[in-house]
């Protein structure tokens, strides 16, 4: 009987060996995947096991953490809180015990929870000395005063968004979206948190408060896109100065069609210079420029300004649209910011900022640095040049044209005075079937201080349900908001 017994012994050994192999597979090979699986509750538990690090604006935190009331079933120890939640929501995103995390709260989760590898040594030290684990901080580039001006400006209207950039670096100074939401209201796990969340869902709330309009919504940019078209004309040598006769007929019939490209009102667009055309916002002149340059050249210039690519600030923005494969009339319409052309507010702020920065487009970013709990810098974002849509000479020509718009044209509401020069462009973009819906009011601009430097470029878009049609012009609704934001930035630098 001993021979089969020995074989059974081997068989039992193989059973144990199989289990050992399976366990190694599970706890060694597959361990990381299982450990970091988003559905694995431990990920959420870890995220809220210690007070999260903070998101910081101008030296003071706009977030906080509070200890959750423990009722036995709640295994999450700390809950996120926000100061001025609705105002900062487009920047922070949310970190909710029940509904996950988005934007900065999600992207920099590892730093905020303290799980980042760069904090490992420190955590180990804390563990040895018995101190609780602490999260690091995310220091943003935002400017509290500018953000406040932007948010309060939008608040008076129905919907809209504002983005302000520092042209020389690409730092995002303001990033506001309205209507917004308070991420504190659904940070926990209670029933009221769930109710607050449900109220925000798209199906229950047609105004979509959780939509980050500044980064994730693309609007037809309307006349503000004429700045891009003017840049294309200069860069491609179609015209070499702002004051050259463009030889534009009026009325102008789009090539290949019998449709005239109409201007708004009776404005002096016939054979206008580009300066005049931009000042009065001549569709006929800029439509013809686009048509003359052709789809390829227009697209190339738009791409240099950042169209057709997503931006990572590090929060992702949608790609703005300028189509390819269009005929001349479609290109003409696209060149005045209609047809398929669509841009995020961030994109239009980048356009203004590139012009203000003498043609150099900087990569927009909102995280200045990541710090450890004791404020040592772990990672510092360096300004980065994205592209050069304009030569410095052409940029200055375009600046003088945009400054005329604010001085004498449609953008007079944005004048600041006191040695500050403002250049800008209004826009009123039609949308909806047969322009049935209320147009969007746009304004993009930059400010230049007396020393010639430009501290801020801004893009404002407003969709106002309450305003009547005539009132919705970029100069009327959007320019005052832009002015307040620019003033806030300039004043905070003093």
């Amino acid at each position: 009987m001993n021979k089969p017994l020995r074989r059974i012994a081997i068989f039992c050994g193989l059973l144990v060996l199989t289990l050992l192999i399976r366990d190694n597979w599970l706890q060694y090979v597959k361990a990381d995947g299982l450990k970091n699986d988003e559905n694995n509750r431990r990920v959420t538990i870890a995220r809220y096991s210690t007070p999260r690090g903070d998101i910081i604006v101008g030296g003071s935190p706009i977030t906080g953490s509070t200890e959750t009331k423990s009722n036995g079933l709640n295994d999450l120890k700390y809950k996120r809180t926000y100061k001025d939640g609705p105002m900062w929501a487009p920047v922070t995103g949310y970190a909710s015990q029940s509904f996950g995390a988005t934007q900065l709260e999600n992207i920099d989760d590892a730093i905020l929870t303290g799980n980042d590898d760069r904090l490992f040594f420190r955590n180990t030290l804390d563990m040895v000395t018995g101190k609780p684990k602490q999260g690091g901080n995310v220091v943003t580039t935002l400017n509290a005063a500018a953000q406040k001006a932007a948010y309060n400006g939008l608040k008076g209207h129905g919907k809209g968004a504002v983005v302000a950039l520092e042209p020389s670096t690409g730092k995002i100074l303001a990033l506001a979206s309205y209507p917004s939401y308070d991420p504190s209201s659904f940070a926990g796990t209670s029933k009221s948190d769930g109710d607050a969340w449900n109220k925000l869902l798209k199906k229950n709330n047609s105004s979509e408060p959780t939509l980050n309009r500044a980064l994730r919504e693309t609007y037809p940019p309307g006349s503000t896109f004429k700045v891009v078209t003017a840049a294309a004309a200069l860069e491609n040598g179609l015209y070499t100065s702002a004051d050259e006769n463009t030889k534009s007929p009026l009325p102008w019939t789009m090539p290949g069609t019998r449709t005239e490209l109409k201007n708004e009102g009776n404005i002096p667009c016939e054979n206008a210079t580009m300066r005049i055309a931009l000042r009065y916002s001549c569709n006929s002149v800029f439509g013809k420029i686009g048509s003359d340059l052709g789809n390829a050249k227009m697209l190339e210039e738009a791409k240099k300004f950042g169209f057709t690519s997503e931006q990572f600030t590090p929060v992702r923005s949608n790609a703005s649209v300028f189509s390819d494969g269009m005929n001349q009339s479609q290109t003409a319409l696209s060149s005045i910011g209609q047809y398929n052309t669509a841009a995020t507010p961030l994109q239009m702020a980048m356009v203004a900022s590139a012009v203000a920065n003498d043609g150099k487009l900087m990569k927009p970013y909102m995280v200045d640095k990541l710090t450890s709990p004791n404020l040592d810098t772990l990672e510092q974002t360096q300004p980065e040049e994205l592209s050069r849509p304009l030569s410095s000479k052409n940029a200055q020509i375009l600046q003088s044209m945009m400054e005329t718009v604010v001085k004498d044209g449609t953008g007079t509401n944005a004048q600041i005075g006191g040695g500050v020069t403002v250049g800008g462009k209004t826009g009123t973009a039609q949308h909806g079937v047969a322009n049935s819906e209320k147009p969007y009011a746009w304004f993009i601009s930059y400010a230049k201080t007396s020393d010639g430097s430009s501290p801020v470029a801004v893009a404002v878009v407003v969709e106002d349900d309450n305003a009547n049609r005539q009132d919705i012009s970029g100069g009327g609704l959007a320019a005052p908001i832009a002015k307040n934001v620019m003033e806030a930035v300039i004043n905070s630098k003093k």
């Binding site: 009987m1 021979k3 039992c12 199989t18 289990l19 399976r22 450990k35 509750r41």
Partner: protein
Amino acid sequence: MSSTTNSPTHHTSTIGAIGAPSRRNTELALLIFAVAIPVFAYANVGLAIDNRVPSGLLSYGLGLGLLAGVAHLVVRKFAPYADPLLLPLATLLNGLGLVVIWRLDQSKLLQAIGQAGDKAPNQLMYTAMGIALFVVALIFLKDHRVLQRYTYISMVAALVLLLLPLVPGLGLPVYGAKIWIHVGSFSIQPGEFAKIVLAVFFAGYLMVKRDALALASRRFMGLYLPRGRDLGPILVVWVISILILVFETDLGTSLLFFGMFVIMLYVATERTSWIVFGLLMSAVGAVGVASFEPHVHQRVQAWLNPMNEYKLSRSGAPGMHSEQLQQALWAFGSGGTLGSGLGQGHSDLIRFAANSDFILATFGEELGLAGIMAILLIYGLIVERGVRTALAARDPFGKLLAIGLSGAFALQVFVVSGGVMGLIPLTGMTMPFLAYGGSSVIANWALIGVLIRISDTARRPAPAPASNPDAEMTQVVRP
């Protein structure tokens, strides 16, 4: 005391009795470790959870130490030549199980759903009952061959035990598997006891029939095919296993009994063909039932895609869906190589049966790959000591009983931990000694008792031949 007690002392024959050392002191030394490790682990849990040494440390430590001490003294007195490893290994597992059950008692989540809170004192009580049965077995079962007399009574008893959960009013379906009965406020898993009783029956039956089964066969394609009528017993056991699977919907119990029978049949007859038959029959049975029986089918689906099962369970989809397996896999994965440390994991997320069927997941998360490998090796050692006992036993009944019990033990460990680790479909059985549950602990202590009894008989030196002045000329022939 110790090794000299029973050694022949003053004979002068040329052939001395084999003076095997009793190894009782080795056992005692190992036992000290087997009690000290859980005590240390217990303190560890308390420090991790409350930052202080738990107040129950002394009582648990003394309790476990006392039980182990009593068991050791009884072995020393009544089975002095027993295998020295079995008792310490079982004590260690039982002690670690107690610690982890106590650790899960501290989980607020499990307390809130009534799955934990006061389980550790119960488990200590079950352990005491288990050790009591162990002691009774050693004291009253002077020789394991006595069990041979109860071959057919065992058969009846085993069948009754297996069928009990199907009796209306007594049976209690838990998560679909009907392997429990309710008596008063106690729930009992009769299958755990049936395991031992059935091994006695198989050993007795096969010892008598083995020649017929082994020799009367035809050779075909290199295999010895048994005669048709000799196929009877294996067919009967197969049918019973299938019936268990269909009516009690428990793959584990079914696999365990059939596997144990095939192992014992193979050992009794030394015919490889039985293994081939056994594998074929269990494959046919398992696949057949899994395709037609909805509950078993569903368990197989859950095994194939635990993540999908988790999502179905979360979304409240109709049907019986359980997120347990996926939760267990996350627990193992989150433990990684060295584990989170005792008391610092979140295996309570498994919720239902976290401290019984799924207790291995808590070990996996808190002690890591290292801890699980150690525990699996301890189980492996117990099995190999059992097989060694079978090898050393001098009578066929003892050999068969020992290999049956250790084989069943090995299969149970494989089926349960394989199920929890997602290697095979889940079954409703528990890890011997580790898991919470009276039936399991008591039955497994009885199993260890029987193994210790067989090993004592096996390792006991032959009685010394009478002292004889003509010893030099006498050839002593021993059996």
